[in-house]
Amino acid sequence: MTYTYIGKDRRRIEDPRLLVGRGGYIADLRLPGMLHAAILRSPVPHAWIRSIDATEALKLPGVVAVFTGEDCKEKINPCMSFGPATITQYPMAVDKVRYVGEAVAAVVAESRYLAEDGVDLLEVDYEELPPVTDPMAAMEPDCVLLHEEHGSNIGYERTFEFGDVNAAFAGADLIVEDTLRWGRSAGMPMETTGAVAQPGFNGVLEIYCNSLNFSYFVFLIAATLRIPSNKLTLKPVPAGGSFGSKLAAHKVPALAGFLALQVGRPVSYIEDRIDHLMNSDHHGCDRTYEARMGFRADGTIVGLDIDVVDDYGAYMQFGVGHHGNAFSQVVGPYRFRDVKYRLRAVVTNKCQQGAYRGFGSEVHNWVLERLVDQGATRLGLAPEEIRRRNFIQPDQFPYKIPGGNLYDSGDYPAVLDKALSMIDLDSWRAEKKRLREEEGRHIGIGLATTQERSVFSATEFWFLVEKPAFPLTSSPESATVTIDPTGQFQLLLHCQSMWGNSPETVGATVLAEEFGIPPESVNVRYADSAHALPGTGPGGSRYTAMVAGAIRGASRKLQKKLLHIAAHRLELAPEDLELVDARVQVRGAPETGLTIAELAGTAYFFALSLPEGMTSGLEESYTYDHPYTTPPAPDGSDLGVFYPIMGHACHIAVLEVDPDTGMPSFLDYVAVHDAGTIVNPRSLGGHVTGGATQGIGTTLYEELAYDEDGQFQSLTFRDYLIPTASEAPVFRIGHVQTPSPFTEYGIKGGGEGGRMVAPAAVSAAIDDALREYGMRVRRLPVKPATIVATVQAGRAAEG
């Protein structure tokens, strides 16, 4: 299928305003009479709060008020949560602090400077409790509890088995096993999360925030604030990056709203970087796996056995949705049918987990690929060969995987072949050998694949839980298309979605395709929650596919209306007409027709020229529901279809490791992605390079670290190391397009794959470079010190 606008490299509609520094970010917003809040954060990981003394702070000129968790407990309800009902939290700690960085008190003042002065003057008396930092120790029966009401530090535990792993392993020729450790990193956008709340007209509280999904969860914030949901309006503000960290970032708008309601004036609360690092509510996964995979001698995978302990930190706002994501692609692109998955989600004195690009599925993919690589090495197979032998074949789709999810479509051999065609592996392998022998250099080649699940269904928020409290099934997206009286197009999006993806360009491109108008001519706006139709917002690589469905739905309604107006004016039947290049014309006689502008004039100003019963105007909305989802079985034997729009990627990394410093440097990097039909290849390419660079950060540099006493070690960007331009490789990007049979235009999501596969490819490359020393990457991030120690131990063993 070829399109006029879809699939072409296109400049982004969003860019001109960003290039002149007018992005309209939350920190740029100023309201008359606006006050500023700063937060006192806990310096201790686990303690009862005995008292908070605000006397001195309140004496400081410019300080307006101080609020604590006690005020929250009295005046508002706990925060929204998809976790156990016995693990509750408020925007500020009530009675007890549970991690370093948890909010203890808020100072509201005339300026941020004065608010921070006020924070300095607060005195808190803590009664310290033993910190719980090791998730294994946290599970011991005599361990001190974080949440007394919950009665255990295990937030959630369950074992899932699909097929029969023991039987499968009994027939295996080789079983590999490993202990694999994935460290904490986070989306860490350059802009932090923030909100400005103002008591507005008619008792409505307005909250401007750069958190996303606002129309989906507005009623939950209203419930926290104890106000009717029709008295709360969330106003969308563009985000300076998210990568998951602003997904339903509910505490920041709830806190700003609470403060504004208390003082009766607009209040701005913007996290600073330290707030964000220690308390973003969106630390990434922190897991330890005992994992086993069985193989037959020819490399065929027979089964997977996983026992994972996930260190969730102090609260569980999204339940264990991270593992639902893993289940969406639990077998990767491979054909094996037997899977066992034991999950223990543990609470400890650390910041809680949230979302980070991959949202749990990236960790699962790394584990899967680590095991496949180990199998390949032990069986003497090349990494591309063992994968090829196990791929689900193009004629097997749609393919139902163990657990119940469905893969809509794919061509994994084609993606692998495309990647292999872009790099000469044979000559790299020869060069690697030559450089080792002649120059003593250590080159490594890593190849990995990933599934990239996209377009989630809301069932995955709860299907892992035995008795879900709120088993919702909707995850729609909406669009409103207006043609104004002069024939110009307005597109209204019903969720905040400016995360660094390009919703305006995507939306305008799809609308242009529908009507044959230039994409640049479309004006795009965002609805606030008071006007918003159902929308779930971006997340889980769903937005492009979903909004395209909504825009197409609205367009079809408008096209029908245009055809009927034209038919009436031309005294023909609508079936005799067609819409071509912004003009309704007679089939077979294209010289007779009416432009959209002419029809729009009629629609707005000449009611007597409209067909009988038609009303004036040209505006249509459409709400597009998830294109393919099925309910989970009540007994958990089948999780249903919940993430069926399945992309795929293959990365090949070539790097050199300096064995004496542990420094890796990239020599080549090929990334091939299949995201179905591509709307804007250059944008998708940017997601691949950006995502893969984040994956490299997770693999080599980034760590949100706590010491054993629970003190947070990553307080600045000097400690939390984001890759700079000097660390990021030069990527060579290829695309394969296998359209989805379920979505409009065949679009699949493409936002997360880069980060989901890079850790596996880079880990494999490091192993390959240093295999002679027994190097096996088993813990991320793999720091230079680990590499050097492994090399030295290997050399010592050689004698």
Binding site: L19, G21, D28, P189, G691
Partner: protein, 175 residues
């Protein structure tokens, strides 16, 4: 807390005159106001983005007498008598972009736009230095500014394409 409060949090004020984007402005500021906050709050130049306030992300980069500085690490009073340029000095009009901004649009050297003003100003500084650079050199030169979105590749391409355009056609330079 004792009487030291006033000393510690004292708000001594001082007049500063700064040439900002070619125009002299005089304001009375608190001595502890950072240059970044002065530009953002006093002059409404919200293109100066504050990403860390501890000198590591580079998003607050402005040109100070033509050289890039992190405006979160300077005080407004230090700018007295100096010249500061923000991205508005290239173009503040989305419909009439400067060639450097144009190159970033064409190469898609941005996603969320938060690092972008800093990257544009640093690009200007690099190009003004007049020397052609390899891609690796460009990467080194921009490595003081973090971008979380792009993976830098399109930014490097944009810097090179803007440089080629502004310096005129010459041979080589890319690696």
């Amino acid at each position: 807390m004792t009487t030291s409060t006033a000393a510690k949090y004292g708000t001594a004020r001082r007049a500063v005159t700064v040439r900002v984007n070619g125009r002299h402005v005089t304001r009375e500021v608190s001595t502890r106001t950072t240059l970044a906050d002065f530009l953002r709050d006093e002059l409404d130049l919200v293109s100066v983005h504050v990403g860390c306030e501890h000198g590591e992300c580079g998003c607050c980069t402005v040109l100070f007498d033509g050289l890039s500085v992190r405006s979160c690490l300077m005080l407004a009073v230090q700018a007295d008598g100096h010249a500061v340029e923000t991205v508005e000095s290239l173009s503040a009009n989305p419909a009439e972009l400067h060639p450097i901004q144009e190159a970033f649009a064409e190469e898609q050297g941005l996603q969320c736009g938060f690092c972008t003003p800093a990257m544009l100003l640093r690009t200007k500084e690099i190009i003004d230095a007049g020397r052609e650079m390899t891609d690796a050199e460009v990467r080194h030169e921009i490595s003081g500014i973090l971008c979380r979105c792009t993976g830098y590749q399109n930014i490097v391409n944009a810097v090179q394409s803007a440089g080629a355009k502004l310096r005129g056609p010459t041979a080589g330079g890319r690696d």
